[in-house]
């Protein structure tokens, strides 16, 4: 295995993903991520000089809508997904910002 993922990287990625991992999960995640990077290494063996990066697999572009309001009051359906609700809003733990 060419790629070594350090313990710090695992810690950092779990902070970004807002995940609290057990020691076993960290070990597993490390192995999984190393496997993924090895796969990327295989891809890197290909010569891609002069090939445009592809972000979309279908030859489709310029799909637009007109600027016309079609949706009405969606608060009922939206708030049906709220574990906690107050004043027509999602209630979440106090967040600064």
């Amino acid at each position: 295995m060419a790629n070594k993922i350090s313990d710090e990287v695992i810690e950092y990625v779990s902070i970004l993903a807002k995940l609290e991992l057990t020691e076993q999960e960290k070990k597993d995640a490390k192995a999984d991520m190393e496997k993924m990077l090895d796969y990327i290494d295989t891809l890197n063996e290909l010569d891609t000089d002069g090939i445009e990066p592809v972000s979309h697999v279908f030859p489709v572009h310029n799909v637009f809508r007109d600027d016309i309001v079609l949706n009405g009051d969606g608060s009922g359906d939206t708030l049906a997904n709220a574990p906690l609700e107050k004043d027509n809003s999602f209630k979440v733990p106090k967040t600064i910002g």
Binding site: H61, N62, R65, D66, D67, V69, T78, D87, T95
Partner: protein
């Protein structure tokens, strides 16, 4: 001698576009609806929902890019910026990192007689986040997703500004361009224009930039000026104490006139950007660019040049009038109607400005029609009403857009040019003020003024003061 420092400032300006619907769904963008009423599965990030781009967003972004001398990116696309926060229901914001819609532009600013270019690094389209309101009662946050998915254009400048004055001149310039284009109303207080200030200091003459901080939560030009001054001083103090500036995001508290650290600035790769697979590329043809250019209204700088050629009004007046597209249109249409641009300019510069200030209004909020202003000027110029009545009628036009002809008719404000009636009043005034008559005849010019005043009062202001003056002199000779 103390070291001299130079401030280096770059800006990230977010502008909420004036579309009717959100960027990727057909929900209304209207401000002020009850919480979560303008939401659907797309703008709340429900699994399986598919975003479809609003064409008008691309057109506005192109218009702003072209007006700011940018190159339009012919093949552009959207990327996902991943972060977790309750205002972001998808856990990613759809934005543009790799191929933003416009790049390499500039706007020209003028401060204190010098002109300067502020370069624009890039401009991209993205979606706004929801709004968090802190609930004091049970110490939680309430989330409203009405703003989630409202289209934004973010304009990123190069670090070309050196003072608060330059920053404000740049913002004013952007605001004017965008308002002229009709792409946004650009109100800082309401958040339809937001500026983040990236600031660093370095010793004067140094080549390298210092470590920068980013300041958020600046919602007025005054707050921006104060925040720049405060942050500059804070950084200079750190450096002169031999300490380091830490790269971080700081939040400005305008009440306390101080900033505090929000979070250490995450690097671009921490957002784990990648192309959004739900959205197809946008390919912009020459023909499309030409069409947007053709639909571009005359912008302020061009207007100023034309006014100089076409109208005999002072440069300063032209600058004030063209600062608002709405005011400039009022001026042009009223001038065309009455053929007296100088008079129109006077009414706008003096009475209109006075009333705007008195009522704490913006020129964009002027609600009277050019027809009524032109009508008033006709009445004043042909002597139908005198100047003090004209001012009185103008206030009515300003507040209620009244028709000046009907209004003066209805309220009997026309100047009385009937000589017989005037003579009758004059006789009465002379009879009632014998002392003033004696004084005037004895050589006191001032006494005549008192008699003119009495006459105007007796005629409820409807007489022509010049005429009253003339007749009085004739009688008392």
């Amino acid at each position: 001698m103390a070291k001299q420092y130079e401030t280096v400032i770059g800006l990230e300006v977010h502008v909420e576009l004036a579309t009717k619907t959100k960027i990727f769904c057909s929900c209304s963008t209207q401000f002020g609806g009850a919480p979560n009423t303008h939401t659907c599965p797309v703008c709340t990030g429900m699994p399986g929902s598919l975003p479809v781009l609003n064409r008008q967003v691309v057109e506005y972004a192109m218009a702003i890019g072209l007006a700011a001398n940018c190159e339009i990116t012919r093949v552009c696309k959207f990327d996902r910026k991943n972060y977790f926060y309750p205002d972001n229901p998808q856990n990613y914001q759809i934005s543009q990192l790799y191929l933003p819609i416009a790049r390499n532009g500039y706007v020209e600013i003028g401060t204190g007689g010098t002109r300067k270019r502020v370069r624009i690094h890039e401009m991209h389209m993205e979606e706004d986040a929801g709004k968090l309101v802190h609930d004091e009662w049970d110490d939680t946050s309430l989330v409203d997703y009405n703003r989630s998915g409202v289209p934004l254009v973010e304009i990123v400048s190069e670090p070309d500004m050196r003072s608060a004055d330059e920053v404000i001149a740049y913002l004013e310039k952007l605001r004017m361009i965008i308002q002229y284009l009709g792409a946004s109303d650009c109100k800082l207080q309401e958040g339809s224009m937001r500026a983040d200030v990236n600031l660093s200091v370095r010793e004067t003459g140094a080549k390298e930039f210092g470590t920068r901080t980013e300041m958020k939560n600046l919602n007025s030009f005054k707050a921006i000026a104060r925040a720049i001054e405060g942050e500059r001083n804070r950084q200079i103090e750190l450096l002169s104490e031999g300490k380091k500036v830490i790269q971080e995001t700081r939040r400005w508290d305008d009440n306390k006139e101080a900033s505090y650290a929000m979070r250490s600035k995450e690097d671009a790769q921490d957002y784990r950007y990648f192309p959004d697979p739900d959205l197809v590329p946008i390919i912009i043809s020459d023909e499309w660019i030409e069409r947007v250019k053709r639909n571009q209204p005359e912008l302020r700088d061009e207007k100023l040049k034309r006014y100089k050629k076409e109208f005999d009004i002072p440069q300063y007046d032209a600058e004030i009038i063209t600062a608002s597209r709405h005011m400039a249109e009022l001026f042009e249409r009223a001038s065309a109607l009455c053929g007296k641009p100088k008079k129109v300019s006077n009414w706008l510069m003096v009475e209109t400005m006075r009333l705007l200030k008195e009522k704490n209004m913006e020129p964009e909020e002027l609600a009277f029609s050019p027809e009524n202003l032109a009508g008033l000027i006709e009445l004043a110029e042909n002597g139908t009403i005198n100047s003090s009545v004209a001012k009185e009628v103008f206030e009515k036009i300003f507040t209620d857009n009244v028709n000046p002809v009907e209004y003066t008719e209805k309220h009997g404000l026309k100047t009385v040019n009937d000589e017989k009636e005037l003579l009758k009043v004059l006789e009465k005034v002379i009879a009632e003020n014998p002392q003033a008559v004696v004084d005037y005849r004895g050589g006191k010019e001032k006494a005549l003024g008192a008699l003119v005043g009495q006459t105007m009062k007796a005629m409820k202001g409807k007489a022509n003061p010049g005429m009253v003056n003339k007749k009085l002199r004739e009688i008392l000779q």
